[in-house]
């Protein structure tokens, strides 16, 4: 006998009726998610495909566009030194900002994983910078903090450290910009905190009995148990970092000497300063592929260093 569908009415008289009802249920379901589907198609899928098409044209918004084949891609890889400069800067930014953010997030999560009074308040306070997000206001604040005459140099002067030119020195500026996302570690921290709560207490008890110290317990228990969360955070933060725009735009405008000219800023300039939409589209596709490759490599190598309690079967 056929299994009664969960949504089916008990009085279903024929075999046709449940199918009809299921179809109707699907229609209603589709209707429910239609705002999302329409939004996705209109605001994501169409621009996504359009940008691919534009990348083979010299589209500039106001002038007639021509199909130019791979010319944009050829120009990017063979004739545009700014592209390589920007790519180099962006890779350095990702390589510094992402691991630094995860380390800070993990450290703070471990601090906040203790049992003590008022922990809820501490957690909220540490999450606050992330609520401010990549906003313009925070970037402006950063600019003032790290100016030559800013608060950071003022504090350093109390330690008899000579003032540093945080934003004007090409060697330092990228580092200063990359500190901003590190400070906004909240979302990664929350995930780590959730992960830390899942680590079985017995493991720590067993390790204590076996004479392991705190450091050994961290590297042999905590970290391995958290690796799935490390992987998730790593991928999400890497994608975000590759697309970073606001801080470079507001704090340094890509300078000094293009030392903070992140990929997102280069894209913006080509698209909205020079109105080379075709070229900018090609660059955005190259960025998409770079992110795809990095993500793929991370996934592929992850089974060597991530540990799942169920052996990874549920992945």
């Amino acid at each position: 006998m056929r299994k009664q569908p969960a949504t089916g009415a008990p009085e279903a008289p024929t075999l046709q009726a449940p199918r009809k009802r299921r179809a109707k249920g699907e229609r209603i379901g589709l209707l429910y998610i239609s705002p999302w589907i329409i939004g996705f198609i209109v605001l994501t899928l169409v621009p996504f495909i359009a940008s691919l098409v534009y990348s083979f044209t010299d589209y500039s918004m106001v002038r007639e566009q021509r199909f130019i084949g791979l010319a944009n891609y050829i120009e990017m890889f063979t004739k545009d030194p700014v592209f390589y400069q920007s790519l180099r800067v962006t890779l350095l930014y990702v390589l510094f900002a992402v691991p630094a953010k995860l380390v800070v997030a993990l450290l703070v999560a471990m601090l906040l994983n203790r049992q003590m009074r008022g922990m809820g308040i501490y957690r909220t306070i540490y999450y606050l910078p992330s609520i401010l997000g990549g906003s313009v206001a925070v970037s402006v604040l950063w600019r003032f903090l790290f100016m030559r005459e800013g608060l950071v140099n003022e504090l350093l002067s109390y330690l008899s450290i000579p003032p540093l030119n945080w934003l004007g020195d090409p060697e330092l500026a990228l580092f200063t910009i990359a500190l901003l996302p590190v400070w906004e570690f909240g979302s990664s921290m929350v995930l780590f905190l959730a992960g830390l709560k899942q680590v079985p207490k017995e493991l720590y008890e067993a390790s204590t009995v076996d004479g392991a110290g705190k450091v050994r317990a961290f590297f042999s228990i905590t970290l391995p148990m958290l690796t799935p969360i490390v992987l998730f955070n790593l991928i999400m933060q890497m994608i975000n970092a590759f697309q970073q725009f606001t801080s470079a735009f507001v704090i340094t405008d890509g300078g000094p000497m293009k030392a903070t000219y992140l990929y997102g800023l280069m894209l913006y300039d080509n698209a909205f300063q020079f109105f080379r939409m075709g070229y900018a589209s090609a660059q955005s596709w190259v960025l998409f592929i770079i992110i795809l490759v990095f993500t793929f490599v991370l996934f592929k190598t992850s089974n060597r260093w991530t540990h799942y309690e169920d052996g990874g079967d549920s992945r």
């Binding site: 939004g39 918004m61 106001v62 004007g168 405008d253 000094p256 293009k258 909205f272 300063q273 020079f274």
Partner: protein, 441 residues
């Protein structure tokens, strides 16, 4: 039972309608223009028209333009003018997007840097010579229009004011270092006096920073007498002229005539530089239109002629129409837009309202009246007068191209940071400009 099933469907339908309405609302961006423009009334009275007038600027400018619009619409009740105003940041991006989407305002000022793209290459604005029966062109100096607002034989916009490059100096700084205000500046005097200033006070600099527009282009053009980039898409200079410019720039930095680049590069605008505000920087090359803003930080300002060497082939003193007011080709009522633009920029009552929000008016009679009434800042008026005494050739479209100028600026920065020697920088810039010019459509 059936009733309960109706609700989800109804709810979904409402949501869906909302989404579709939202999308339709997006298209509705077109509608103010369309609905306004199609609103004809009776046959015997003038047709009701609605114009969209968009501009950027400060609060003072917004208020003045809104007052002018009120006065115009009072006297011309069949015209409705919808003002759309904002700051400068993002204005160009928005405007280009509007042109691309067919929703550009009927009237908008253009920055001179945009004319090549919007008026010449893309042909998006009306040639105002074709509307001469609605515009009092005789009120303007025909030579000025011809030199600064006509491109490819077409009048791209009506200049809302005259703008010119000058030396703007801090009078207190000049007093402090005994620099005579009537010094006739050339590049040599800048170096000599600037070096002395820095030797007297290591925290003081005669100059703050240079960019391609205030230094590189004019410095080179003075030696060549050419446009920076010529109309035939070739550079208007040899490597020697560039090398001399870069070497001079490095010398200024080495000798403390200019604030070190690592300190000044943080500020896009010298007026915001703390050292300028604290009176440790003496002078800047800037346009007359920025004087009002600089005055808010430094009240005691004087102006003098931009440095011109005795043997210069052109003064290269930049003179600009301040924001030519253009009419979009998509406008349904170009004649009415032209009438309003003409009134706004030539009538004495509009001039009395606008005062110097667009620098000094181009129409001489209005400018004289405002100066006589003390309605124009005397420093601004003097600046424009000085620039107009010895104007350089009008800058052509390609020399204003933002992508080409960004290349020049990048190299200039690398020279300042000593990443490139003057000869390397000259060779590099020549090569990159050649490459870019060859690939331009």
């Amino acid at each position: 039972m059936r009733h309960r099933k109706v609700w989800p469907s109804a709810l979904s339908a409402i949501l869906l309608t909302g989404v579709l309405a939202g999308c339709a609302g997006g298209d509705g961006g077109n509608s103010p223009q369309n609905s306004g423009n199609s609103g004809g009334s009776g046959d015997d009275s003038p047709q009701e028209v609605s114009l969209r007038f968009s501009w950027w600027g400060s609060e003072v400018r917004h208020k003045a333009l809104l007052d002018a619009i009120d006065l115009y619409t009072e006297n011309n009740p069949h015209v409705t003018i919808e003002p759309e105003y904002s700051g400068f940041d993002g204005y160009y991006q928005k405007l280009v997007t509007q042109f691309a989407g067919g929703t550009a305002p009927d009237l908008t000022p253009l920055s001179v840097d945009w004319i090549d793209e919007l008026a010449v290459k893309s042909d998006l604005v009306v040639d105002l010579y074709t509307l001469d029966e609605y515009i009092d062109l005789d009120a303007f100096d025909a030579d000025f229009l011809e030199r600064y607002a006509v491109f490819d034989g077409k009048l791209a916009g009506l200049p809302m004011g005259v703008n010119g490059m000058v030396n703007l100096y801090n009078q207190d700084f000049f007093d402090r270092f005994d620099i005579p205000e009537d010094t006739v500046w050339d590049w040599e005097t800048i170096h000599t006096i600037g070096k002395r200033v820095h030797e007297e006070d290591p925290n003081a600099y005669l100059l703050g920073m240079f960019d391609y527009r205030t230094f590189l282009q004019p410095f080179v053009n003075q030696q060549t007498g050419n446009q920076w980039i010529q109309d035939d898409k070739t550079v208007g200079f040899e490597a020697d002229a560039l090398e001399a410019a870069f070497a001079y720039y490095q010398q200024l930095l080495d000798d403390g005539v200019m604030q070190p680049i690592a300190e000044s590069s943080l500020y896009k605008d010298l007026a915001e530089n703390l050292q300028w505000q604290e009176g440790n920087i003496g002078m800047m090359f800037t346009l007359a239109s920025t004087i009002a803003k600089v005055k808010t930080y430094t009240p005691n300002l004087g102006v003098s002629m931009y440095p011109v060497p005795a043997d210069a082939l052109t003064s290269a003193v930049l003179v600009n129409p301040s924001n030519p007011l253009a009419i979009s080709k998509a406008s349904k009522h170009p004649e009415e837009a032209a009438k309003f633009a003409s009134w706004l920029l030539t009538s004495s009552e509009a001039a009395a309202i606008l005062k110097d929000v667009y620098s000094v008016p181009v129409v001489a009679a209005n400018a004289e009246q405002l100066v006589a009434d003390g309605a124009i800042d005397s420093t601004v008026a003097e600046a424009v007068q000085i620039a107009m005494e010895n104007p350089g050739n009008p800058v052509n479209g390609l020399s204003n191209n933002q992508e080409l100028n960004q290349i020049a600026q990048d190299i200039l920065d690398r020279v300042a940071f000593k990443q490139l020697s003057p000869d390397q920088a000259a060779a590099d810039l020549m090569a990159r400009l050649d490459e870019k010019l060859r690939s331009m459509p």
